[in-house]
């Protein structure tokens, strides 16, 4: 186990380094992209040069490139993510609601991916013939439906025509949130569910035809037990890795779905903040996304390690 702790420590250190590099890269690219926050503040009006200078000084935009970056870094290390240049709202307050939306959406979609992906994959691997063919067909279609197409279709069928789910917004109560997020989560999960189902099917088939499973069958071990301890457990490694990657990818993909359903999540705030060059907000969101991506991957790896002692030995050796 100390080896596992060491591994964790190493990965966390890697996370910090990644965050630092990412923050600098993002900062530089915002700095170099055209546009400026003060032009947002002036709307369609041409300010006098003095007024423009006053606004820039007020927003701290008159400082040199690196000074501004280190200034920001010092504040973040002190636990302060800063204030939005455009709305003068603390960044943490500004990101509260969007974060809630995106996290719930991604969790919901992840649950669908795990249940549908694993379920369909296993069902298909264990029932060769018509079930397998049917599911394989379905999965092939699913992996070809991008989220923006899925959301359009789902909105028009289940929200507009049938009226089962709201086509727009986040709802008010917890139940309302779940109802409102159902269509977005399904739209988001379709492709990934298909991919996970494919990987699950392949891994399960491979295990199914392996020697230890055949031995177990010949020894008369129950089918249920074979699936649980011999097939699933051995197939778990690749499935966990792919699922982890897919779920981490949802963070970035959710923006399309958020836009279509008017959810006001992190992705939408990121886009508008990039357009406004609202540097502290963009930085905070990017850091959140990078951190979430790394942590999700780490979680997937850890799950794989916990399930499979061989991998544990290999990675900690």
């Amino acid at each position: 186990m100390p080896a596992l702790v060491q591994l964790l420590a190493r990965r966390l250190l890697g996370l910090l380094a990644t965050l630092l590099v990412a923050s600098f890269v993002v900062y530089t690219s915002i700095y170099l992209s055209p546009g400026s926050p003060e032009s947002v503040l002036f709307g369609g009006r041409q300010p006098s040069p003095e007024l423009l200078a006053a606004a820039r000084a007020h927003l701290g935009l008159d400082e040199p490139f690196l000074v501004r970056y280190f200034h920001w870094l010092r504040e973040v290390l002190g636990g302060d993510l800063g204030t939005s240049l455009i709305s003068q709202q603390p960044v943490t307050a500004k990101l509260g609601h969007p974060l809630e939306v995106t996290v719930l959406l991604v969790l919901y979609a992840a649950a669908i991916i795990v249940v549908a992906g694993l379920g369909l994959g296993l069902l298909s691997a264990l029932n060769p013939g018509i079930v397998d063919a049917g599911i394989t067909g379905l999965v092939s279609v699913a992996t070809a439906v991008p989220a923006f197409v899925a959301s359009s279709v789902l909105i028009s069928v289940f929200a507009v025509r049938l009226g089962w789910f709201p086509p727009f917004g986040f709802g008010d109560s917890v139940g309302g949130h779940l109802r409102a997020l159902t269509l977005p989560a399904v739209s988001l999960a379709i492709i990934s569910s298909g991919l996970v189902a494919r990987v699950t099917r392949a891994a399960a088939l491979e295990q199914n035809s392996s020697e230890h499973v055949r031995t177990a069958v010949s020894r008369g071990v129950s089918r249920r037990r074979i699936i649980r301890t011999h097939v699933l457990r051995n197939a778990a490694g690749p499935i966990a890795t792919v699922t982890g990657l897919q779920v981490a990818g949802l963070l970035a993909a959710s923006v399309v779905v958020e836009q279509a359903f008017g959810l006001g999540g992190l992705g939408q705030v990121l886009i508008s903040s990039v357009q406004q060059k609202d540097f502290p907000v963009v930085q905070a969101i990017c850091l959140l996304l990078v951190a979430a991506f790394v942590v999700l991957n780490l979680t997937a790896d850890l799950i794989g390690l916990l399930i499979d002692p061989r991998a544990r030995k290999a990675s900690t050796a």
């Binding site: 369609g44 041409q46 357009q275």
Partner: protein
Amino acid sequence: MKVRTHRRLALALLVPALAATAACSSSGSNAGAAPTGGNISKIAAGKVLTGTAKNDVDSVTWYGDYRPLYTLDPLKLADYPEETVIPNLCEPMLRVAPDYKISTGAVAYEQPDATHLVLTLQPGVTFSDGTAVTADDVAFSIQRNLDPKVLSNYYPAFANVAKVAVTGDRTVTLTMAKPDYTVVSALSTVAGAIVKKAFVERTGDSFGAPNVGVMCTGPFSFASYDGTSKLVLTRNEHYWDTAHRAHVKTFTFQFPADPGALANALASGEIQGAMNVPTNLATTLKSATNGKMYVGSEGSTPINIDVLMTRSTGTLAAPKVRQALSMALDRKAIAAQIFHGLADPLYRVAGPGTWGYARDTFAADYAKLPKTPDVTAAAKLVDEAGAKGASAVFAYPSGDPQSAQLATVLQQTAKQIGLNLQIKALPLQQYGNLFSSPKARAAYDAILTKNYVETPDPLLMDRLYGGTSGGTNFSGYSNADVDAHIAEATATSDPAARATAVLAAEHQLDQDLPSIPVVGQRALVFVSDNLTGAPLTFAYMSAPWAAQIGAE
């Protein structure tokens, strides 16, 4: 299906505006020159509201326009979302009726001469926390427009104001450096909202930020705003003007960025009403079963879409070339094909939507303008100017299909008359920069703009793009006659006399075309069947309109 947001951020140019009717009166009586309101919905001519609400409603959700508000401070940003929501919290100190008539609100006004404006605070006016408004608050609120540190978007409208002084227990006097009858109109926009001085001083830079809110005198008070998706107002139970008390207890604004999402939200009733509906949603919403779409007639908004010149040199700097481009443009086809009939051909930048007074005079003059495109004569003009085969660059905002189509039509028209117009789509932020940075504009000969004035007066539009120091005069256009006529109109209170001066300036601008008019937009409003009282005119941009929404 996903059409990117029809963005208007940088397009919206504001001129705190005036109805001349108000300027000419001494105590707010506006007889004689009331705008006849070109805001006729298809439902009934001359209608300015969808109906009259008589009953209260617990909660309503409305469209707050194309993006969340950046700030609740009434002065910080003059754009659709801010001017849609803020007047309900921070009403202008003068009352603007749905037909644009200006009358006594929290203050009464009197303009004894062209350089003085006296405001008298009405008894019983309170902030939404129940405390009384003082003359000091009124003066402070106006003064904020003049303070460079506040960065008021409305600053130019107060350019002639030299002094704001408390001159009595209930009176505030404005002294102008130059004769100016247009300040009254600026006070009838959110620039004239009364904010509580103590609250502003206490909150400092964060005044108006989503987590802080505002303290004003409107029929609603600030409840909560997450800064990104949901802004909640509650009825101001201390509202001083009991005759205009709000019918709705909780008024929520949402800001779907995607037009498709807005259409779905309206059609399903998640959002119950919207003004300024993107024109490309008209076909979808026509078939909605839970509400009605109201379409204004020609001139139902003062929004005009133009080709604005941005360079003092180059191909388009020659007036003849501009005349040729304008002459060849098939505006009727553009209005019908690109805007689906929800816009009208516009032959003068200050078109029908801006005629708030002397309407007949303006209309008669407008009728004389040539309206049939003449490509042959235009090509000849280009030849005469020696510009055959010359190039120019035109920039437009990417993201909405109509701007792109319009740019393509312009390019084709230019080609027909022997000009090589290169068109360039700019991402919104880069496009927005064109308005604040001469350096950003340097690469382009002309850009697409969408202008509006809050209250209809052609003078304000003309001053903006045709005056030497106009806010969007980016091509360095300067004509002494035009400037003189504009100054004369600004200093004239009589509507007929002002119209004469305005027309004199416009006849010159028609020839010189520092901005080429293309189309004027019609009002497009959607309201759920269970609600009524929605405004059908552009006056909502400067009035607490949400107070009128309720059940029949």
